[in-house]
């Protein structure tokens, strides 16, 4: 059994006690301690800024041309915080409870409670930085609802919350760059972790402009490199989002936890053809106001707006009256798949359902009429006013939809379908966010710790900033306090030389294959295997086949991939080859994990394990554990278990009815 080092004491006192007793590093020593941070999304940028402010010597890395581009920027809907500004019964406990329940009782109580505790600080910090959150006319912060909760605790900035939060963190980071506390390495990709005496002591990074391999020492290495959704090829992730840094850490001994826990988001723009390179999310916040439906008739030939109200099946409202359109993502996604598989899907592909704003537009129009005290208003005028309100709330999302599909969502319902969006699994970390490799940490989506088997909407931004601003600065410091006796190790140390050579050899062998197929074509084939057999529904037979198929794909990749260009130059195809090679290995582990977990929970739905109503059927007796996998060589992994103990919440079957 793995030890997650959860402090003793009452749940609500653990973090307070930890902070009161953890070791500190004095300011003079902080200046001598070097910290490497890989990735500059919400977790990485906030950690780099916060650690820089404390006085550590920080080196931050990102593969994009600027830290401001990390994919946190694309998060749309919002960030949760237990502020209870709405006086609707919210509290730290309730946010904690909703998150544990939403995660289908596969997350750690202590971590999640800490997350809920610091959530309020995040909002305060962001406001102080000048993040322009949405406000009410009285000048105070506005909230909206998200899935899996019955309170309004989501703070937002139109449909660009991630952008505004990341720019806040990016500006804090650039301030530290200007002050000389952080050195920024853009267009750099981490290609290995360097270990000395079993501890992480640095990284090998490739300068993506020159192709040069660089050796960087750090007393601690923090991986804030996001999730691995792009293993599916098609996902809402950015094109460059990848698992490479986390996977290299895994190959160096860090356990990879719950890799099969992936989140399929219910409201994305459907696939339009084979050429598709990525999928675009339509924010969960749209489910505040949009109603999801399919026709009651199979193969309905009429256009959406010609189908009368009584012939529409608002299946989420029908199946889950208490939460309606705001059920958690895994539940909403499966319900959409169920309707489409049963033949009720819409659009040319029949793999889509409607997300309809007509009712909301009318409702908002009427509110405007009464607010402005208007009399004798025509129906058209009401609709026009309603559209204006909807435009203010979701304008950028509606525009995005119109550009991609060529349809006007103010006039006709959106067509949506589930798509890969987030990965709950990730590097195994203890309470301090440290992996089982000493000195190596994982923050944000890159770790596994807070969302169990399903993440609630608006909680990813919360976790990224919680880890970076408020958790890592304490927990990393606690361990660095023991490192003050250890001077920086020169990168001429044989461990650095050996690691750099191994990376160079691998790049050379990729380049020298000189085969016939592009990296992209392999990535597409991998994605199809994983989506078909380890996607929204999984079964033993499919997963067993998928493992064999991925193994065969790996062999083919390493004998027939074509990487054009040179090694020592800007070469995006080479970058991609490095990443896809790692995705293929991860794909195998995901299927192994999904096969091992003989239960359904959250986003992991094994067809063999479901209730008569088709809901996920957990097996708490046998699977209430974190599956942490240790790499033992090619195609070989050993399972380690971390038992999940629920001291405060009593696990039950999730009920959103």
């Amino acid at each position: 059994m793995l030890d997650s080092k959860i402090p003793a004491g009452k749940l609500e006192e653990k973090w307070v006690d930890y902070k009161g007793h953890c070791k500190l590093v004095n300011p003079a020593n902080k200046r001598k301690m070097e910290v490497i941070i890989v990735g500059t999304g919400l977790a990485g940028a906030s950690a780099a800024a916060a650690m820089g402010e404390l006085g550590y010597k920080v080196k931050a890395f990102c593969f994009q041309d600027s830290p401001r581009r990390a994919h946190s920027i694309a998060a749309q809907g919002g960030i949760n915080a237990a502020k209870n500004y709405q006086n609707d019964g919210d509290s730290v406990f309730r946010l904690f409870y909703d998150t544990i329940k939403g995660g289908d009782y596969r997350a750690r109580e202590a971590n999640v409670h800490r997350l809920a505790e610091v959530s309020a600080n995040i909002i305060d910090q962001c406001v102080a930085q000048g993040v322009p959150f949405a406000r009410e006319y009285g000048g105070l912060l506005s909230n909206r609802s998200f899935g899996g909760t019955q309170v309004q605790r989501t703070f937002y900035a139109a449909g660009q919350t991630g952008q505004q939060l990341l720019i806040g963190a990016y500006q804090a980071l650039e301030r530290q760059v200007a002050l000389g506390n952080v050195t920024m390495y853009s267009r750099h990709e981490m290609l290995d972790v360097v270990k000395i005496d079993g501890k992480a002591k640095g990284i090998i990074a490739r300068n993506l402009i020159t192709g040069e391999l660089e050796k960087h020492f750090g007393h601690a290495v923090l991986l804030c490199t996001g999730g691995y959704g792009n293993v599916f090829y098609l996902s809402t992730n950015a094109m460059g989002s990848n698992v490479t840094a986390a996977w290299k850490a895994h190959k160096q001994g860090a356990y990879f936890a719950n890799p099969c826990f992936t989140q399929i988001h219910p409201t994305c723009i459907p696939v339009s053809g084979d050429h598709q390179s990525k999928l675009t999310l339509m924010s969960e916040s749209l489910r505040n106001d949009g109603r999801i439906w399919v026709p009651k008739t199979k193969g309905e030939p009429r256009k959406s707006i010609d189908i009368p109200e009584e012939e529409r099946d608002y299946y989420l409202e029908r199946r889950y009256p208490a939460f309606g359109n705001l059920v958690p993502r895994d539940v909403a996604s499966r319900a959409a798949k169920e309707r489409c598989d049963a033949g009720y899907g819409v659009g040319t592909s029949k793999q889509a359902v409607y997300l309809d704003f007509a009712a909301a537009i009318e409702r908002y129009g009427k509110i405007e009429v009464s607010k402005q005290g208007l009399k004798d208003v025509t129906a058209e005028h009401i609709i026009a006013m309603g559209k204006e309100v909807v435009k203010e709330k979701y304008g950028n999302l509606f525009d995005m939809y119109a550009k991609i599909t060529g349809e006007n969502p103010y006039e006709v319902p959106m067509r949506i379908y589930p798509a890969v969006h987030y990965t709950m699994g990730g590097l195994w970390v203890d309470y301090e966010l440290q992996t089982n490799v000493q000195g190596l940490y994982a923050l944000g989506e890159a770790n596994f710790s807070d969302h169990g088997a399903n993440r609630l909407g608006a909680s990813a931004l919360m976790q990224g900033l919680a880890d970076g601003y408020f958790v890592a600065p304490y927990t990393v410091g606690n361990n660095l306090a023991d490192e003050i006796y250890n001077a920086a190790i020169p990168t001429t140390h044989p461990a650095f030389e050996a690691a750099a050579k191994a990376v160079a050899d691998r790049i050379a062998s990729l380049k020298n294959i000189n085969g016939k197929q592009s990296v992209e074509s392999f990535h597409k084939r991998l994605g199809k295997i994983i989506w078909d057999k380890c996607g929204m529904a999984r079964n033993k037979e499919g997963l067993t086949q998928a493992i064999a198929e991925v193994q065969a794909l790996k062999k083919e990749f390493w004998s027939d991939v074509r990487v054009p260009g040179e090694i020592n130059e800007y070469n995006p195809e080479l970058d991609k080859a490095n990443r896809v090679a790692d995705f293929i290995e991860l794909g195998e582990l995901m299927c192994i994990d999904a096969l091992n977990r003989e239960e359904s929970c959250g986003g992991h739905f094994r067809e063999e394990y479901q209730t008569p109503e088709g809901e996920a059927l957990r097996d708490d007796e046998n699977f209430m554990y974190v599956a942490a996998w240790e790499n033992k060589g090619d195609h070989e992994w050993q399972l380690h278990k971390e038992e999940l103990k629920y001291d405060v919440i009593k696990p039950s079957q999730r009920n959103y009815k």
Partner: protein, 253 residues
């Protein structure tokens, strides 16, 4: 939706690196669905180039949903192509007709040196932010978020400026390669909020100084930047910037 296939001719700027001269190279791309995005059309071309042993075209892109600001491209003489309020990654092939010739160039500005083909270095923007594009508040010092009410109109105006994605289209559109729209968006975002007040003067002075150092040109108010901006950042921000700059210059100690 029904879709059509297009056959197109491309003229693409190819340049090995910053130290070599570049040239236009012509390519034919056929059977392009008008449902594809512009970058997916380039993906199709690159796939063809790779399997035939040629070097694919390098271009920057990441989120492909119009928010990260990584994509660029000067398409038929317009930054981000023909659609208004749009990024290249959101441009779809519906915008073109069968038989069209499309010219694709990188951003053109001395302050954005070419890395390869269509990829440029926009590090200058980060350095402008480093000069003062932030509020100096260390983590953990914040008071309750609602202790500072902000007039909704001001918060909205600040947000409208903060929407800038830092893509550089404004610079590429400007005949002088001025970065004034980018800079003014950041200055406005922070100057419109009470949190930005303490550093208001030093911020604008330092950021303008850094912009000049980076080699961006002057603003002559042609408005080309506003027309090209994918996020419709208003040129009124430049007026605000000038006011802020003048006020700060006159009252600086």
């Amino acid at each position: 939706m029904a879709h059509n296939n297009l056959n197109l001719k491309l003229k693409v700027w190819r340049q090995k690196n910053a130290n070599t001269t570049g040239a236009f190279v012509k390519y034919d791309v056929n059977d392009i669905s008008d449902e594809m995005s512009f970058l997916e059309m380039l993906d199709v071309l690159n796939e063809k180039l790779i399997v035939t042993g040629e070097e694919p075209i390098a271009f920057d892109h990441d989120c492909r949903e119009g928010i990260c600001g990584m994509c660029s491209l000067y398409i038929d003489g317009k930054p981000h192509g023909p659609w208004q309020a749009n990024t290249t990654c959101q441009l779809h092939m519906r915008a073109f007709k069968d038989g069209d010739t499309i010219t694709i160039e990188p951003w053109r500005s001395n302050a954005f040196p070419i890395v390869k083909d269509l990829t440029v270095d926009r590090g200058a923007f980060d350095r402008i932010i480093q000069a003062g594009g932030y509020i100096s508040v260390n983590t953990g010092n914040a008071v309750d978020g609602n202790s500072l009410p902000i007039e909704k109109a001001k918060a909205d105006a600040s947000f409208a400026a903060a929407m800038c994605i830092g893509c550089g289209a404004c610079v590429a559109a400007c005949k002088n390669s001025s970065a004034m729209l980018f800079l003014s968006a950041k200055v406005s975002h922070l100057a419109l909020l009470p949190q930005g007040e303490p550093e208001r003067k030093s911020r604008v002075l330092n950021m303008v100084a850094q912009m000049d150092k980076e080699g961006f040109g002057s603003c002559t108010n042609t408005g080309a930047c506003e027309a090209a901006c994918p996020k419709e950042i208003s040129i009124a921000n430049i007026a605000r910037l000038n006011k802020e700059y003048l006020g700060a210059s006159l009252t600086a100690e």
